[in-house]
């Protein structure tokens, strides 16, 4: 075969990119484990095995090289992100269902890595969320509030049988010491607001201490820390998380200024729910994000604005997944209309031809 120039090559690879994302998610993962138990690790394991197996089967059916493709790490990364996003005690088969759906219908159906329009991890998340809304919002309270931490045996038992080893169902451990079922801070705010409470009244709850509630602020800080590593390693395009955070900031600031009693502060939004993981680890998936510099800003801003709008006015407590999928749809258009100005040209293309 005649090889064309260049004959020099920078030593970097797709696999390294994928692995860096996994490594950078470790601080966030550590925080999740610390506050919500070992369940997230079990989720990641189930998702990883499912993703690799599904990808292998589909590649076999599509007559594509199996091992050469699996080592690109993309299936593993999708599984990893799904595992991080799911509630820690989700029944095992839901994780399998979501992950395999993501690999088959959100990735391989489009032609595999690089060809999919939608973020596979978020497709899995949304599929599960709208199919099993109860299980998917059944986050357990942070260990500090629950009073005791869940044993490894109980964690396994909940995930694989639905009850603890003593036969209690999941709502048992979701109850705080006062007997009320605990939700996530975002969930709590939504419920209380609908009952006519003001933000200031809602925030006195013991769960709501700190920036954005016990546990959650640390999870977000963990992902922020890892995310900054990604930016420094130039693994992720910095414009996207900057856009997401700016979009959240501006939208929530407008609402908060209009009516601080009814709308959460920007700081709360930044460190609540899946914000930081979404901004740095989900939205930055290069395949499904805009690929131009301006496009990345717009893509990020859109996610930020939509997230705040759904969190505030929509039916779901968190919205990163929906926001990402909605913005995924706009990517081809963003890419076309945000072309940079080429050397020697006066106008940017896409808007006008020469």
């Amino acid at each position: 075969m005649i090889l064309s120039s260049p004959f020099a090559k920078k030593p970097n690879s797709v696999t390294a990119v994928m692995l860096w994302v996994i490594v950078a998610s470790l601080p966030g993962l550590a925080a999740l484990i610390y506050f919500f138990g070992i369940g997230v690790l079990i989720n990641i394991s189930i998702a990883s095995i499912t993703a690799l197996a599904t990808e292998a089967i589909i590649l076999r059916i599509r007559k594509r090289p199996v091992s050469a493709t699996l080592i690109d790490g993309s299936a593993l990364l999708t599984a990893w992100l799904i595992g991080l996003a799911l509630p820690p005690l989700l029944p095992w088969w839901m994780t399998i269902l979501g992950t395999s759906f993501a690999i088959v219908f959100a990735k391989q159906v489009y032609g595999g890595l690089g060809n999919n329009l939608f973020n596979p991890a978020m497709v899995a998340y949304v599929l599960l969320l709208i199919s099993f809304p109860v299980e998917m919002t059944a986050w357990i309270p942070p260990t500090e509030l629950a009073g005791q931490s869940l044993s490894l045996a109980d964690t396994f038992s909940y995930i694989f049988t639905g009850t603890s080893s003593q036969g209690y169902d999941i709502n048992f451990i979701r109850q705080g010491v006062d007997g009320f079922t605990m939700a996530t801070p975002l969930d709590h705010v939504k419920t209380e607001l609908s009952q006519g409470y003001r933000i200031q009244e809602i925030k006195v709850h013991e769960m709501m201490t700190g920036l954005s509630g016990i546990g959650w602020q640390w999870v977000n800080l963990g992902f922020l820390f890892g995310g900054v590593i990604l930016l420094f390693r130039k693994v992720a395009a910095w414009q996207i998380p900057a856009g997401v955070l700016l979009g959240i900031l501006s939208m929530s600031l407008i609402l908060n200024v209009l009516n601080p009693d009814a709308y959460l502060s920007p700081a709360f939004h930044w460190f609540a729910g899946a914000t930081m993981m979404g901004a740095f680890f989900i939205a930055t998936d290069p395949v499904t994000a805009s690929t131009t510099k301006k496009g990345r800003w717009l893509f990020g801003l859109g996610i930020g604005v939509i997230t705040v709008l759904i969190r505030t006015f929509g039916g779901y407590p968190d919205a990163i997944a929906f926001a990402v999928l909605l913005m995924n749809m706009t990517v081809p258009m963003l890419d076309y209309y945000t072309q940079p100005r080429t050397y020697g040209h006066t106008k940017t293309k896409g808007v006008s031809n020469e």
């Binding site: 005649i2 120039s5 260049p6 004959f7 970097n12 690089g114 395949v287 510099k293 940079p340 020697g344």
Partner: protein
Amino acid sequence: MERSSYPSEIPIFEFPGGIHPQENKQLSNRSPIAKLPLAKELVINLKGQAGNRSIPCVAVGEQVLKGQLIAKSDGIFSSYQHAPTSGKIIAIEKRPIAHTSGLEDLCIVLSADGDERWVELSPAEDFTALCRKQILARIFESGIVGLGGASFPSHIKLQREDGIDTLIINAAECEPYISCDDRLLQDNTDEVLKGAQIISHLYKDLNIIVGIEDNKPSAIEALKAARTKLRMTFDIAVVPTKYPSGGEKQLIQLIAGKEVTHGKLPADLGLVMHNVATCFAIYEAIIQDKPITDRVVTLTGKACGKPGNYRIPIGTPIKHLLESTQTLKSQKLIMGGPMMGFEIQSINAGIVKATNCIIMADSNELKPEQTSLPCIRCGECMNACPASLLPQQLYWHAKADEFDKTEEYNLFDCIECGACAYVCPSDIPLVQFYRYAKSNIRNNRVEKIKADNARERHEARLDRIERVKLEKAEKHRKAAEARRKAAEASGQADAKKAAVAAALARVQAKKEANHEASNSHQADKTKEPKA
């Protein structure tokens, strides 16, 4: 690598993108320019320059002297070629040429007699006595082409006179491995600068700027020393080492802070740019009356037995270079640099005027052949592109044969520098896709012109047939009219006469119609294209 601490004498601007590949220049830039033993047989490629093939003007069996004209320009866009040494023309035939395709092309084969006898030369120490026309003619007749790699005939580049105020000497030499310009600037500083003076003289007086990367401290020192010695004035623009700073458009952006507008030339900015080796060749042509018979080539690579820079006669076969540098185990041969060069397919091919470097690589030196992974749109290529293109989008559309889309994304502004492919984490041979799309678009353009011509001819033919038909109908109508009139004139009484008259009129009309038809038929024939 060592960096020059000498500050740039004029402000330096920036160009977007660019990369920092391993320079590997110290392999070859440590020793002065040397010579190798003469090859027994030289293979001079008649298409060794940009443009058209030169036309041989010697016969097989003829004895030639070094520097004797052996092939002429085609008169439009080509260049002269001269005997690189004295000897006998033993063949004018198709031989493998140094080209990425590995194809054969017409070459003059010269058997060297080893005497190196020159044709009679008439040196002209004082070039200022020569007028512009004389100098240009001599540059043309000396077969000078751009020796930086593009080998564009220099006399064409120097033709435009008005509006030019600045000469930029391109000494950036940004490709890894290559050090021939670096060495030429150290070993023949005066000659290079005098060459620049000659170009300046061509335009009365130009502002001269030498653009050089900061990884050539010795060359910068040599330039400074020679400037004092020759009492010349020029600015040394020291640009940071970043590939592809030596690209014409990029060096202009670095030095002038301006872009060459799409579809325009550097001359439209008042600039003309020539490479170091071209200046040297112009010096030799004007002052010493020597046409291009050899050039400085960097022979390098980890497999090269005696890496360095050598003055090598044009047409010297690669095989001879491998043997005389004791290079035995080279895995891969690259002509040019690793970023824009090409793999040599036949070691029997001779070097051409554009050959600035031959990399004799060992097995783990250059990129191994790799299967590429899918594009993940990471945008590394976009960040590396010096032309601010979107290589990822160009790739996407080129791969899908959506050539109109690649043009919308300004495919033709791609300079094929290879920075995108260098950084691609998926190891996609991006430049190959762009070349593929470009050649398809060019072919389509030619096809479209052909198809348009054919359609026009077809429409003209249909028009003609229609016209002839109408003319015939008109004739018949006229004949009928004549008959009717004849009948009326003779009256009903003489029906017999009328019948005769009508018959006559019919015959007449038929004759006329026939005549007309054969005329137009003939016209058809002459108009019918030969294609």
